[in-house]
């Protein structure tokens, strides 16, 4: 129960991420949380900048919800510290933190009108009645729900409920807004619309925001930066395109989008290129940039399906080029996904745009094909 993990990083080690402009606004330093001996969050360091929308992305059970509940104050870290502008929040319960959370179920109070729901948080601050009224009115205006002020939550649609839940948090002008699976209760069609709508509202308010989601599309659409979590740890932090284009480990590469992974060892490790030999590929895998590795190091090479070309003719390159047979075709309208079985038995996914109404050379099952990719299209993963 009593976790005696020493804080691995001394305070102040939470350096801003590379390429960042702002300083840390909220910092998590060596935060761990265990429930009855089971570690749910394991030594997490994180810094969140003022005004950004930060997403914690991971599969269920990865510890992201627990992390969010520690930020909100519903759970206290077993070890480590959470800082707001350098001030420790340890021991401060949820009702005294200047943070507000939008719950997955929205948690709108069913016995109160929309207006009363919004006023609730301000009343707890013993704010002047007229001030409450004007702030509630202003916020309802902003989320375009003014005409619904007298309605009860069960008389609103899902999207309207969500806007009210958001407004109820924002009217408190929190220093940090927490979103727990914000689109979790909406159907798919509404989701896309609300993602943009919410992101627009958040941007216009300029609030710092941490959201938790298991939906990569949602995280990519809404967030400025994303942290990938697994097993209570943070694996990678970066902007959506960094996460997608430069995954730093197999888990991230496989979690975001689909990916082809070749396992192999480094054979040539030069300053401006790397060659890798994999039992899954007949030809050498060639990467057009150097990495900090060594010859003989086991690595994985990740190639996204849309970066692979597919053709009946043999390309004129000796590297990154494999022969195979079309095993499956999934026609998805705008593009098709081809499963190509290589000689080694590996299944390679290739996506190709269907940008012509009738392609002269349309591939079909059992076609002998070549798959190949550019020397800058693959990423080497060392873990």
């Amino acid at each position: 129960m009593t976790e005696t993990t020493t804080i691995a990083h001394p305070a102040g080690a939470g350096q801003p991420e590379p390429g960042s402009g702002g300083a840390a606004y909220i910092e998590l330093v060596g935060v761990s949380k265990s429930f009855d001996g089971a570690l749910a969050v394991n030594n997490v360091d994180l810094s969140i900048r003022k005004g950004e929308l930060f997403a914690l992305l991971g599969a269920s059970g990865c510890g992201k919800s627990t992390l969010l509940r520690m930020l909100s104050g519903f759970e206290q870290p077993t070890s480590g510290d959470i800082l707001l502008e350098g001030q420790s929040l340890t021991g401060l319960p949820a009702n005294q933190r200047p943070f507000n959370m939008m719950f997955q179920s929205y948690a709108l109070f069913p016995h109160m009108t929309v207006e009363q729901n919004l006023a609730f948080g301000l009343k707890q601050e013993r704010m002047d009645k007229r001030e409450i009224e004007s702030r509630v009115g202003e916020m309802l205006e902003r989320v375009q729900m003014s005409e619904y002020r007298k309605r009860k939550p069960d008389q609103l649609s899902g999207g309207q409920q969500q806007r009210i839940a958001l407004a109820r948090c924002l009217v408190k002008r929190p220093k940090l807004l927490l979103l727990d699976e914000p689109m979790g209760a909406l159907d798919k069609k509404l989701r896309t619309r609300m993602q943009l709508e919410i992101a627009n509202i958040l941007e216009s308010v300029g609030v710092t925001c941490v959201m938790v989601t298991h939906d990569q599309e949602e995280a990519m659409t809404m967030a400025n930066r994303i942290a990938i979590m697994d097993g209570g740890r943070i694996l990678q932090v970066g902007t959506p395109d960094e996460i997608y284009e430069q995954p730093n480990c197999r888990y991230t590469a496989e979690f975001i989008g689909s990916v082809n992974l070749f396992d192999g060892v480094i054979v040539d490790d030069e300053v401006d290129y790397v060659n890798i030999k994999s039992p899954q590929a007949r030809n050498t895998l060639h990467i057009g940039h150097g990495i900090s590795g060594f010859a003989g190091q086991p690595v994985s090479v990740a190639v996204r399906p849309e970066k692979i070309q597919i053709s009946l003719q043999k390309p004129e390159q000796a590297f990154n080029c494999e022969a195979g047979e079309v095993d499956e075709i999934a026609y998805l309208g705008s593009h098709s996904v081809y499963h190509v079985k290589l000689g080694s038995g590996m299944d390679v996914l290739v996506t190709a745009l269907n940008d012509e109404r009738w392609a002269g050379e349309r591939l079909t099952w059992q076609d002998k094909v070549w798959v190949y990719w550019d020397e800058h299209s693959a990423v080497v993963l060392t873990s």
């Binding site: 104050g73 719950f103 948080g121 309207q160």
Partner: protein, 275 residues
């Protein structure tokens, strides 16, 4: 019956027969309460004479007053204790003697009245001998006994309501700055109020209905309505009891119908909502 396509025919027959079985005796009772004859089973014309006699019966009236006060006091305290117990069962993580606590909450639901009555009487006698309290048995001792078994029933009602309650409502209130106590009074309590009302009514009727336990723990001077009814019924049928029964059945039916109409209205409103 067109609204219930889901009920199988066999069940429908059972339901009809079951309801006939449940309600026919009460209808008979109400009809005979307007019988002019003193011989309860021979119809001699319509009359409200027994209602008049009922209200002139001092023993019956004072017992009724006693029972109503008792039921009111019992229901009020049972609701408080029952809600506390339900909060403990649903909200507090396991503590060492929770199993014992759970046993003491569920066992009164089924404990035969004669055992509860006898054991409480012996407790009161023992306490009177050693502590000098309670000096005499009466309203107070019956009230204690009734609270003890009624709170178990209230606990059942309240714990099922609390279990359904979305916990994030309470967390949202805390997140918006309310204290734990403030959350309870501003959020939890208003939401569970209907359940509290039905728990209160349940305890009220249970207390009003109890004969056996009250007979054990009542002193010689205190008599509840069921005790009066029992002693007169034991001697045979009594037209006053018919009148009393009719009044009781009609008032309970009225309350029941009111409750039904209210749930109906709630359901209608919920169905009208968009999305």
């Amino acid at each position: 019956m067109a609204q219930s396509p889901g009920i199988p025919r066999f069940s429908r027959i059972c339901l009809s027969l079951g309801f006939f079985f449940l309600y026919a005796p009460m209808v008979v009772l109400i009809v005979y309460s307007f019988n002019a004859s003193e011989r309860v089973n021979i119809w001699a014309g319509f009359s409200t004479r027994w209602y008049g006699e009922l209200f002139r019966d001092d023993a019956m009236m004072s017992a009724m007053w006693m029972s109503l006060r008792l039921a009111f006091a019992t229901a009020t305290v049972s609701v408080v204790f029952g809600t506390l117990a339900a909060l403990v069962l649903t909200r507090v993580r396991n503590f060492r003697t929770k199993t014992l606590f759970g046993g003491m909450v569920t066992a009164p639901l089924v404990m035969p009245d004669v055992i509860t009555g006898l054991s409480l009487l012996l407790l009161f006698v023992g306490m009177a001998n050693t502590l000098g309290w309670p000096a005499e048995r009466g309203f107070l001792t019956i009230w204690i006994a009734h609270v003890t078994f009624c709170m178990a029933f209230v606990t059942v009602v309240m714990s099922s309501r609390l279990r359904e309650l979305d916990r994030s409502l309470e967390e949202a209130a805390m997140d918006l700055g309310a204290s734990r106590l403030g959350t309870f009074f501003q959020i939890t309590l208003p939401i569970i109020t209907p359940a509290l009302a039905s728990g209160w009514l349940l305890a009220f009727t249970l207390s009003l209905d109890d004969l056996v336990i009250a007979s054990f723990v009542a002193g010689p001077a205190s008599t509840t309505l069921p005790m009066v009814v029992f002693s007169s019924v034991r001697l045979g049928l009594s037209p006053q009891v018919n009148a009393l029964a009719a009044l009781l059945i009609l008032s309970v039916t009225a309350v029941g119908m009111l409750a039904y109409l209210m749930t109906l209205r709630d359901e209608r409103r919920r169905q009208r909502q968009p999305g």
